[in-house]
């Protein structure tokens, strides 16, 4: 390979030097957003509705932890643009591999919010049907889902489907071995998979600077031969533009794509965490002014894409949705203890049948 060709090969993998951005923090359009095509106005209106709904869902879920209706909730507040752009870039027949922090994405995908919250409410480990929704269970062990996405992408490719897989992961997760094994395997197999890193600056309490000294997490791609890009993760327009291009890249058989979204976790790790122990209020306030929902609204209003009526309609729909979430979560549901034995194997072993009978006698004795 000539030096020139080598240079081109390397450059084709590298991300932009600065994150791609369409809308500045104050919501005005930036002058030259680069090589990416802006989404249609229609799609942006849909994205706006989903952003309002997603934000409302998130604050509702946090409120539910205070009422004891949820055991725990890892908030997505501040990361809505990443998650909603991810969902909007996918087709219904594409697969999504989310983490525990991606509940807003799941709601945006159309999954029943009560089923989304089943894990956090404590009824079961996963409340929705992954096969029907093509959304894998929200993954708790960090980065382990990224390699599942590669396997699924490879399966889809082999079956001749032109659907793809997208894996979500956080900044902390990029330090895990599975993330690197996933990038490498995806590249070697040329699997149709997009990796979306939501770099929200913290892994619980540990800031990004203690996670990596790479210029950006997007540079993790080139070592594996994976095309990479970095985006302003609080700019829905940029996120949707880049992710649409990334999805097109992998769908057309050009191999995997890594996107780093620079964003911020506005709330603590979960409601059980105290973020004041490890970060300054001034930092949080700085990011408040970069809020993705407000920024999109200003940007779209400024371009005449939405008006007062659209804003009002989106907020009304979001309030109705929040009421639906509250009603669903306030309904008392009975968990069946015998189900504990039902799904360990396709057919319970003799030992599981014995233990089921033991539990039955215990419960029977308690009733007497």
């Amino acid at each position: 390979m000539s030096v020139k060709a080598l240079r081109q090969a390397v450059d084709s993998l590298l991300p932009s030097l600065v994150p791609v951005r369409f809308a500045a923090e104050n919501g005005t359009a930036v002058k030259s957003p680069g090589a990416y095509t802006a989404p249609s106005d229609e799609l942006l209106r849909e994205a706006y509705r989903r952003m309002i709904l997603g934000r409302r869902f998130d604050t509702q879920a946090t409120a539910l932890t205070k009422q004891g209706r949820l055991a725990v909730y890892p908030s997505s507040r501040g990361q809505e643009a990443c998650q909603i752009a991810g969902v909007l870039a996918l087709r219904e027949d594409d697969w999504l591999f989310p983490t525990y922090r991606d509940s807003v994405a799941l709601v945006s995908r159309g999954i029943d919010p009560v089923e989304v919250l089943t894990l956090l409410q404590g009824g079961w480990h996963c409340g929705y049907d992954p096969a029907a929704t093509r959304v894998a269970p929200q993954c708790t062990p960090l980065a382990t889902q990224t390699i599942h996405a590669v396997g699924m992408a490879e399966a889809l490719r082999r079956k001749g489907e032109d659907s793809i897989a997208m894996a979500f992961i956080g900044d902390g997760g990029t330090s895990e071995g599975d993330f690197h094994e996933a990038l490498n395997s995806a590249a070697v197999l040329r699997a149709p998979v997009v990796f979306l890193v939501q770099n929200n600056q913290y892994a619980i309490s540990v800031p990004l600077a203690k996670q990596t000294v790479a210029p950006a997490l997007a540079y993790k791609g080139i070592g594996y031969g994976v095309r990479s890009e970095q985006v302003d993760g609080n700019d829905l327009v940029a996120m949707l533009s880049v992710l649409t291009a990334a999805v097109e890249h992998v769908r057309s058989g050009q191999g995997p794509f890594l996107v780093e979204a620079h964003t911020y976790r506005m709330d603590a790790h979960t409601n059980a965490d105290d973020a004041t122990r490890y970060r300054q209020a001034a930092e949080v306030e700085k990011w408040e002014s970069a809020d993705p929902v407000a920024r999109l609204e200003t940007y779209l209003r400024g371009r005449g894409v939405i008006g007062d009526e659209d804003v009002e309609a989106a907020r009304t729909a979001a309030e109705a949705f929040a009421a639906q979430v509250r009603a669903g979560m306030n309904a008392e549901t009975e968990a069946d203890p015998f189900e504990l034995f039902d799904h360990v194997f396709a057919e319970p072993t003799p030992q599981l049948r014995e233990q089921r009978a033991l539990l039955a006698s215990e419960l029977h004795a308690q009733e007497d």
């Binding site: 062990p141 382990t144 599942h148 590669v150 094994e181 490498n184 395997s185 194997f345 030992q351």
Partner: protein
């Protein structure tokens, strides 16, 4: 009937599974053109192509994780971990996902995949090549754990594992790879998955064994027979599901039991079996259930493995301790007293 090695039987099982079900895929490290370091996948890439049997990057967690995703996507992956101790990087994937995905999703997703692991010692392997790691998997709910001891079982248990709707950790006793038997691989016979089998019948005591320890138990039974002691040898075949019925029936008849495992003893599979036997057979037992195991040491270097591995002598010593001689001892003490 022709003489077949266990390695050949496993190879034939993979070949037949690949031929009969296009969802079956074989992948791992060096399983392609090389045919695996033990040649278990010999010729499969040539016959079925790179799409069906292929080399992956050298990353065990990635291999198992890839299998999870592909099984979710409708395939039936059979992956090879090159050696027992090299499977440890994949343990998170196995314990957190392979074992739990069906349960996590209330049965909406299943993982019909097989993780083949050459395991245990006796081949002069250096460190990290001889671990008996079966207890880690058997202790993890949601995994089936299988280990063949005969050539025909190697074939049929692997076929059953591949056809199973649940994930199976298929542990291949590597020192039996070259054991040869007159075997008819095309005749299934009566060998239900999940059932143990008595390899030898006897009335005096039951030896419970699995995988590499089954031939040891059979040799011990042969020697004991010369002394007039008839030992029954039960080959478990599957650790999960565990066949309590066959073990219990045997021990209730013989009244004595020795459980043999090559692995280090503490918190091992043999401990579980010994507990189960005494819970179920207490009134039939004439002696405590004994365990014959490796020592509680990291696997020794090749020149010392003979000192660690439970062999025929260690088994026969245990049989001697099954209190066949209570009565004479009592008489002897009575005579001394008088």
């Amino acid at each position: 009937m022709t003489a077949v090695t266990m390695a050949q039987a496993l190879n034939t099982a993979l070949r037949d599974a690949l031929r009969e079900d296009e969802r079956v895929l074989v992948f791992g490290e060096d399983v392609g053109p090389l045919g695996g370091v033990f040649r278990i996948t010999d010729g499969l890439t040539k016959e079925f192509g790179e799409e069906r049997c292929f080399d992956t990057p050298l990353a065990e967690s990635g291999i198992v994780g890839l299998a999870v995703g592909m099984a979710m996507g409708g395939f039936r992956p059979v992956v090879e971990m090159q050696f027992d101790a090299f499977a440890y990087p994949a343990f998170e994937q196995i314990a957190s996902h392979v074992a739990k995905l069906r349960n996590r999703t209330r049965g909406r997703l299943s993982l019909p995949l097989v993780i083949r692991i050459p395991y245990a010692g006796g081949i002069g392997g250096v460190e990290h090549h001889c671990d008996s790691s079966e207890a880690y998997y058997a202790h993890t709910p949601g995994l089936k754990v299988v280990t063949p001891a005969t050539v025909e079982d190697a074939y049929w248990l692997l076929r059953d594992a591949i056809a199973d709707p649940d994930p199976v950790v298929f542990m291949e006793p590597k020192r039996l790879y070259w054991s040869k038997e007159e075997a008819a691989l095309d005749a299934r016979g009566a060998r239900p998955f999940g059932q143990a089998v008595a390899r030898r019948e006897g009335r005096d005591a039951t030896l419970v064994a699995y995988g590499p320890s089954v031939p040891v138990a059979l040799q011990a039974a042969e020697v004991a027979a010369q002394d007039g002691i008839a030992l029954e040898v039960v080959d478990l075949r599957t650790l999960v599901p565990f066949d309590d019925a066959t073990v219990t029936d045997s021990v209730r008849r013989t009244g004595r039991c020795v459980v043999i495992q090559e692995a280090q003893g503490f918190a091992g599979v043999a401990a579980e079996i010994a507990a189960r036997v005494q819970e179920r057979c207490f009134h039939s037992l004439a002696a405590p259930v004994l365990r014959v195991t490796g020592f509680d040491i990291p696997y020794p270097p090749p020149k010392l493995e003979h000192a660690h591995l439970p062999g025929v002598d260690r088994v026969l010593d245990a049989v001697d301790r099954l209190q066949f001689d209570d009565e004479p001892d009592v008489l002897h003490l009575a005579q001394e007293a008088s």
